[in-house]
Assembly symmetry: C2
Homo-oligomer: 450 residues x 2
């Protein structure tokens, strides 16, 4: 009730509770029963938040009123075992008889900024290109807010719960043709119907837009956790990996990887190859970045002798590495970096240019951050199709510099550069994006820009 | 010169530079040559920062003056190729003839807070239990400051550089019997002498104190990066892994894992087994934490029926999981968590209790953070030998809460609890600590508390 008010939902809302009949909640009249609701406007959605046992009866009553959809918030079903399974069957029978489609039970429901519906307070009302379908209300909630700090907004977020009726496949089907959705992301614990339909639909969908799946419940204890959470059988992770390979799905391991992958799909051009040039200060960090890139599938090939010679025109060899990883010791200022990036832009076997930068340094060097970031971004010509990757870890920000860091995140993003907190994070995201591009290319599908 | 002043080095310092002979630097008289230095006090260390070509001559002059140790800061040796190799040979010949031991070249030197020597400004002057030997000046520098945010201090940090004389083995030998050092950590790119001596020494050392090695230069491009950085041949990472298994060395993959592992060794008791109990809010996060624990080798076994029954006395089953991972939905407040942790303290197959907490929540709930953290820590009885692990990611701190977060880090640390930024980070650290304990146990060595 509070969130409908907060988001200024434009239609009528009818609270129903026999205990408060005739009183007001949030200034809105409370009805004592579903049957007593007015008949003048058809009701789109019933939100059910009563003890599990009486939910079948409520669904029946909604059906009699002509309501077509119900979101069941209540928990206490198959996630508790045998008795809960029976309750779900009853619920489904009632729903079928009453021609009601069910979202849930045991779920948070819908967040739709355009439609002014949300499952918690203070969600952004700006619509964006990302859809998220989640078999966890907690993860739906978390992601809604993580979107803000990661710089993207949602078309819709759906918390699925136990999926006794409307399921993952239904929503995948919906988002496939939803014009507001450019990237589909999912948190999945288990499938509720045969895998074939899901696989077919994924194949059709990945042709059009990237589908990113975070599979929860991977090994033994993870399976138990899923059973207790949404009553599902989690299924072998190997099967999911092979499914991803066959369908072009981008599989990720956890929440952090999910948000990183979404950003990557939204901002970066499809890399033509795995070649990565690394520019950093200091030999140790250069070795670390190289190790992390290689560990996650990227290549760090030597740049051409021609390019090395060009760099050597303004950077001496002593205390430098001019072949890749590139590091210039005391000559590593941003003016030289920009010159080097322009040279790298011409290297055909390089698709990603990885740089380390620190917003605190811009500040102490009294540089205009926006100008510097822009001049980095401008080193790339449109037809070279390269991506610039920035590595910076802000996990121990100080009070004095936090505004600076936030400015850094937004300026880089505006200029098509993502800041990852580690080379690891960047490398696995870029590798996955490349794999998806490769999947499309091998099947002769067109690579679309988001 | 500036850092000697800053750290109030207690002995005399003699700047030598023919260009400034007779003038003053930092208020100290400059000498025109080494031979003209006073003979009244023996000189402990020569720090050489001149072009590489003339360093052999300087070493000879230092030898004539009776100086026994030299740190060569200059670079431009084997990291540049053949010509540099020759220069290193010359340097070594001069050093041997002059009975001088060399640290470097191509290195940052020594940080010793007790001895008041440091390689850069604003290093903490507090001595602590961690030694770090680094084949990268950049990583030595980074670690010196990372110690502050991670809550530990150093006995000494050594930046090794090209190791033409004093090498990893020498310093390992030194730190093995250094009473100020409780944990030895290293960043290694390559070995300069036969591996057998190193392996033997490691076996002797790990009996006494944990040795944590971060191996840089793991795959092909990483090897090239090492070659350019310190002129070394990086060696196969498989060999290093097998060496670690044989010697009890704790091998880590990158800088972040290094700092996590050091904290883990300093703060936690040796886990008796891999059993981990997870307490969190929400089914989705419970699945994620379980997946991450299992992916990095920990076990998440069901707790005993007896313990489940005890928990069920005050937490209902609906919207909860009482078996492990434990999650209590709306009943997950800290008072219930403390009760549950006391029950888990009696479970013999559990060694680690993983909780998620958020300092912002303490604040908004108007709780005294110190009291809450203390009461968490007090759930563990001394003889149960369990560790409490906290998971919280502060990477997007807000200005208003940054003090709160820092307080949280220090209060948890004071009470023997480490806050990791992910279950992944916690799981891999605890698994590695357990493996080290297992190595010691299998060989009948005593497990010492730090």
């Amino acid at each position: 009730m509070e969130t409908f008010k907060e988001y200024e939902y434009p239609g009528p809302i009818y609270p129903v509770n026999p205990k408060y009949e005739g009183e007001e909640i949030q200034g809105i009249k409370v009805y004592g029963s579903i049957s007593s609701l007015p008949d003048d406007i058809p009701i789109d959605l019933g939100i059910i938040a009563v003890p599990a046992k009486i939910t079948p009866q409520i669904v029946e009553e909604l059906g009699q009123k002509g309501v077509l959809f119900a979101h069941i918030f209540s928990s206490g079903y198959s996630e508790l075992g045998e008795e809960g399974n029976l309750l779900e069957q009853q619920l489904l029978e009632k729903a079928k008889k009453s021609h009601i489609r069910i979202l849930g039970p045991n779920c948070m429901g819908i967040y739709n900024p355009k439609g002014r519906i949300g499952f918690t307070h203070r969600l952004p009302l700006v619509s964006g290109p990302v859809a998220f379908v989640s078999q966890s209300g907690g993860n739906a909630h978390r992601h809604a807010f993580a979107g803000i700090v990661n710089g993207y907004n949602f078309s819709k977020i759906i918390s699925l719960g136990n999926q006794i009726d409307l399921d993952l496949v239904d929503f995948l089907n919906y988002f496939r043709s939803d014009p507001d959705t450019k990237v589909i992301s999912m948190y999945v614990e288990n499938l509720k119907r045969g895998g074939n339909e899901f696989v077919q639909l994924l194949k059709e969908t990945t042709k059009e837009k990237p589908v990113i799946i975070w599979k929860g419940g991977k090994l033994e204890a993870g399976h138990n956790a899923v059973k207790s959470h949404t009553g599902g059988l989690a299924g072998n992770i190997k099967l999911w990996k092979s499914m991803a390979r066959q369908t072009g799905v981008i599989l990720v391991n956890n929440f952090k990887e999910l948000t990183e992958m979404i950003k990557t799909c939204l901002i970066y051009k499809m890399p033509k190859n795995l070649g990565t040039a690394i520019i950093t200060g200091g030999g140790g960090p250069a070795v670390e970045l190289t190790d992390e890139c290689e560990a996650y599938g990227l290549k760090v090939p030597r740049i051409t002798v021609k390019a090395q010679k060009k760099i050597n025109e303004f950077i001496p060899q002593v205390n430098s590495n001019l072949s890749n990883p590139l590091e210039f010791g005391a000559n590593g200022g941003h003016v030289n970096m920009i010159k080097v990036m322009k040279i790298l832009d011409k290297e055909p076997h390089i698709s990603s240019i990885m740089i380390t930068n620190n917003p605190e340094w811009y500040y102490s060097a009294k540089l205009n951050m926006e100008e510097v970031v822009k001049s980095f971004a401008n080193t790339i010509t449109p037809d070279s199709n390269k991506n610039i990757i920035s590595i910076y870890n802000s996990s121990r920000a100080r009070k004095e510099t936090i505004d600076l860091i936030n400015e850094f995140y937004s300026k880089t993003r505006e200029n098509g550069i993502i800041v990852y907190d580690s080379a690891q994070a960047a490398a696995r995201s870029i590798y996955r994006l490349w794999s998806y591009g490769n999947y499309l290319k091998n099947r002769g599908y067109k690579i679309k820009t988001i």
